[in-house]
């Protein structure tokens, strides 16, 4: 088995390296990607969406279908992991090969977690809401927010984290984020614009079309952030406890 796998690996590497030669150079202004679309985004982006960060504008406005279904894919991934792993506790714990027997976590870890976690959560919100102006956005902010709960679970215990952020709540958050995203699109549709055409929110919010697109990006990023945060926590709960939610890492 081993030599066979190596041969396949080697062949894949050769094929990929051969294909790399045909790719355009890095940051080549003459490549197809940067001759047709990129100049339009870079020149028009700020005037159309009032969002200085072009990446956020492209991700959440011009390519918002893409982002919508990315968040749906992430949501589906957490659902599948839950379907496969989740089971009621039978009292017998599965074999854990890397686990020492330990009674409880010590004070130093708890103190450090206490001082780090609030800062992490504020930073996550900053990343989420400052995505218009700096690198960041829904995915990154959501992941950092989810990581704060994972840190809580690592430094205290899985039970402690699950008292703070219950499994039911996690799943509701998972669904609500994706629903918020799709709901924004549906509101735009109801206002007579395209699905996810944020300019349709202008009448509701009482602002110009351009600012409406900016606010629409913000709302959509918040939806993505909620979904990703809940999915990360849900994946951790399921995978670390083996599905019975008894005892984590």
């Amino acid at each position: 088995m081993k030599p066979f796998a190596r041969i396949i690996l080697f062949l894949c590497a050769v094929m990929m390296l051969t294909a790399t030669v045909d790719l355009p150079d890095w940051a080549d202004p003459g490549s197809p990607a940067s001759t047709h679309l990129s100049p339009g985004f870079i020149e028009q982006g700020y005037h159309e969406t009032a969002t200085p960060n072009v990446v956020t504008a492209v991700l959440a406005d011009y390519r918002s279908y893409d982002t919508l279904f990315e968040s749906v894919v992430v949501f589906a991934a957490s659902l599948v992991v839950m379907l496969v792993l989740r089971r009621t506790s039978t009292g017998t714990s599965r074999i854990k090969h890397f686990r020492p027997k330990r009674e409880g976590r010590d004070t130093i870890l708890r103190g450090a977690a206490q001082s780090i976690i609030p800062v992490m959560q504020i930073f996550a919100l900053y990343v989420l809401f400052h995505g218009h102006y700096s690198p960041g956005g829904g995915f990154q902010g959501g992941v950092i927010f989810g990581a704060s709960f994972i840190l809580l679970s690592l430094c205290y215990s899985l039970k402690f984290a699950m008292q703070r952020f219950k499994e039911k709540m996690v799943l509701i958050c998972c669904a609500c984020g994706a629903l918020l995203y799709a709901g924004i699109g549906a509101v735009c549709l109801a206002m007579g614009w395209n699905f996810l055409g944020y300019a349709g929110l202008a009448g509701l919010l009482g602002v110009t079309d351009v600012m409406a697109r900016s606010h629409g990006i913000l709302a959509v990023e918040a939806g993505v952030g909620i979904t990703v945060m809940a999915v990360m926590v849900s994946l951790y709960y399921d995978l670390a406890s083996g599905g019975d939610m008894e005892e984590g890492l």
């Binding site: 010590d106 130093i108 450090a112 780090i116 800062v119």
Partner: protein
């Protein structure tokens, strides 16, 4: 000028501590001492480097450089809290896992049971 000298001094100190960390990781005999070297030296040298960087940023003073300075100081604070805690957690986990510790070959542990116990766990955890 004074700031330049200060920055260079801090960077050289950081490099010395980094060298000490590397030598410690390579040369120390067992798990605990290695993590100890890594945790202490790494924290102090990273703090030295970031402090030097923040002073260097502050050389031409403006609002933007002050903002960068504050951000770097926040990173320094974070590393100062998180890195020793992580070292502590790793060593604690190793202690719970009964990772064998090093003793000088000349003075063997007096209690014979302890020695056999250590050898047994050593075989157990050779992952």
């Amino acid at each position: 000028m004074i700031i330049d000298i200060l920055v260079i001094t801090m960077m050289i100190t950081g490099l010395v501590f980094f060298t000490g960390t590397t030598v410690g990781i390579i040369r120390f005999p067992d798990f605990y001492t290695r993590v100890h070297a890594a945790g202490k030296g790494d924290t102090l040298s990273t703090v030295m480097f970031l402090g030097a960087m923040s002073l260097y940023i502050l050389r031409d003073f403006s609002g933007e450089s002050l903002l960068t300075f504050i951000k770097l100081i926040l990173i320094v604070l974070y590393i100062f809290i998180a890195s020793p805690t992580a070292t502590h957690a790793i060593i604690d986990a190793g202690y719970e896992f009964r990772v064998p510790y090093w003793t000088r070959p000349s003075d063997k542990p007096s209690n014979e049971d302890d020695a056999t116990d250590i050898n047994k766990t050593m075989e157990d955890i050779s992952i």
